[in-house]
Symmetry: D3
Subunit: 148 residues, 6 copies
């Protein structure tokens, strides 16, 4: 299998807070990440696609097409934004790195696989680092997919 990974960066503010919990519970669960005024991060996003190598180009995927999709779906709506207040899908969902990874995976998968490229290029993995010490990887369940 050949996997191509491309790295992107965006900076965003967020606050970890679940409206359904009490203030006390929020502070216990999220600690300093629950600070009412929010804080922020330099996120590092790695997008991994897989597929067969096009025998003409020697490439799995046209990078300018991939860049255009990631810019449109992730960088424009997320970069230099407040994730809780500026991004519709996190207005009532907690913007943890786990939830962000899944959201980004789904946004990219829809566009990548509905491109005519869809037969050849598949999104294999999204990896999102929140800090130098923490990252989340979200992968397609390859084995399940293969059975269908």
């Amino acid at each position: 299998m050949v996997y191509l990974t491309r790295r992107y960066r965006f900076c965003a503010g967020h606050r970890l807070h679940n409206e359904a919990l009490t203030s006390e519970e929020n502070r216990r669960i999220y600690g300093k990440c629950n600070n009412p005024q929010g804080h922020g991060h330099n996120y590092v996003l790695e997008v991994t696609v897989t597929g067969t190598i096009d025998p003409t180009t020697g490439m799995v995927c046209d990078l300018s097409m991939l860049d255009a999709i990631v810019t449109k779906e992730v960088l424009e709506p997320f970069d230099h934004k407040n994730l809780n207040l500026d991004v519709e899908s996190f207005r009532h969902r907690v913007p943890t790195t786990e939830n962000l990874s899944i959201e980004i995976f789904e946004l990219l998968r829809k566009r990548l696989e509905g491109q005519g490229n869809g037969e050849r290029v598949r999104l294999a993995r999204v990896r999102l680092a929140e800090t130098e010490a923490n990252f989340v990887t979200y992968e397609r369940e390859e084995n399940l997919a293969k059975r269908i």
Copy 2:
């Protein structure tokens, strides 16, 4: 699948030497790593857990719980120590990066999966870098595990 990885660092001394071999054999196998007075490294440890995302918190794992376990099981006994002389399990086992990775995996697995968290959070992988140029990854054999 969602994987959460957290990075830790520890500094330790060690010597690669197998008591069951001759001095000559040790030098041939381990080269400069067999230096009798030892040497040392800044180890970088990445601990990867997996599980379902808790719908209340949006997280796979409580990071302060994970930090407490890694601190207790790995950082306190290993950091700023001589692995051969200060760590019981390497008194008669060679502290190669391979053996260290397995030891750390087992130490963490026992604690992580015996926490009541055990049903939800599983240790997926430990990655231990000894230098900028070398690292070892030790993974649970997912497929075997799933069959049981």
Copy 3:
């Protein structure tokens, strides 16, 4: 000259906005950094001190003393905070990397040089990286200082 540098990290939210300017001017000057809901960064702070090496310890500076000062003066008030709203000195000053660097330099200088350590340890430089691509260095003007 011997310089000792120690690296710290903090995550914070901010918005670049000068109340004395119009919305239009703010957008033109600060671009996407002027986003009304703010955004944020993983700041990397390098603190450099200089002085003579203590002949007994072989060290320029007691690192636990330095860590305590940086934690108290910078990490506690800045980490996981919104710089504009949570930090008094930026309520009416724009939290650019330049202004943050000078503020941090002055906070640390006062404490470091008023310690009894002050005769031996001097703050030489603060370097603050806002992103992987941008950093600001603020230095004491050594030459001027030496003339006095």
Copy 4:
């Protein structure tokens, strides 16, 4: 499973250009990478092997043997070379990171598995980074391999 990864670096020039396409098509597909005079990169190569840990040495693989193979098969022919003009296998194949990864995987697999080491050490993965933002991973299809 235990995986051992070792990182190598080489610098090389290349040009992305397919002789079977028109100049116009080449420019459209490869953009600035099609520059007629070529350009170049600092490639970072990660070679991952897997196998059982030798109970005597505590190691998966003798690193000096691995270094010798990578030096002979990859670094000597590729480092400080022009990949299109100096490397036989890219005289008529486009040296994309995808094609380079597969070529390197095959060069290393043949030597590693024809060593008497072959029963114990297997090449699991090659990862080749072309820039700070792009890398390709090429893996053996483990499951297929196991069935045979």
Copy 5:
């Protein structure tokens, strides 16, 4: 003094070769960097400017102005190019990292200081890394400059 540094990247091919020397001398001086077909690098360029902080903006320098200058003067002519063949000023000068640094410094200095910004913003330093292990720093001779 406040210094603002911004990091840029470009990829280029080059060959170290002095036409005035014999083949034998070129090989002895430049070693594998003298390979006739050339090779290449991912250059990392750090541009450092200094000046007073504008009290209105809180910034030393408008980054979009700086980006525009570096893009025009360095990235467009150098990125994905062969430095010996595509860049006029290296047609007959050896593109060592030292010579590249000075060339880039002069290109940027002329534009930065002839901008009306010139009174406030000065180019302090250019740092160019050729590989992970080598970099050159070229600085304005501050003291001399001040005397004039």
Copy 6:
């Protein structure tokens, strides 16, 4: 001024302990770095030389000459060694990063400036990182030097 920096790495064990102090004082001053069995680090050494650019070669310094000197003076005696026990000059001196930096500077300065290169190439700075968070820079006092 043109400065050329080259990065080297070595791994070593050490213990911070001053024989002239009591056990209690050693523990208070050096904390966990006083562990009796020692520990170790991956040191990263940056050596910076300065000089005029040789108009024939376009280089400040022959890198293979610099590599040979650093290998002989620093890497061979320090790499994969115990600094306290294997390196003569630290048998009775505490191997703090400060003391190591000065020792390395002096070892390199003597050789570099006694080479016939000495008139052209001067050692400007040594920077030694002990961990990802700590480094020491030792510089020649340029201004003093210039007055003589």
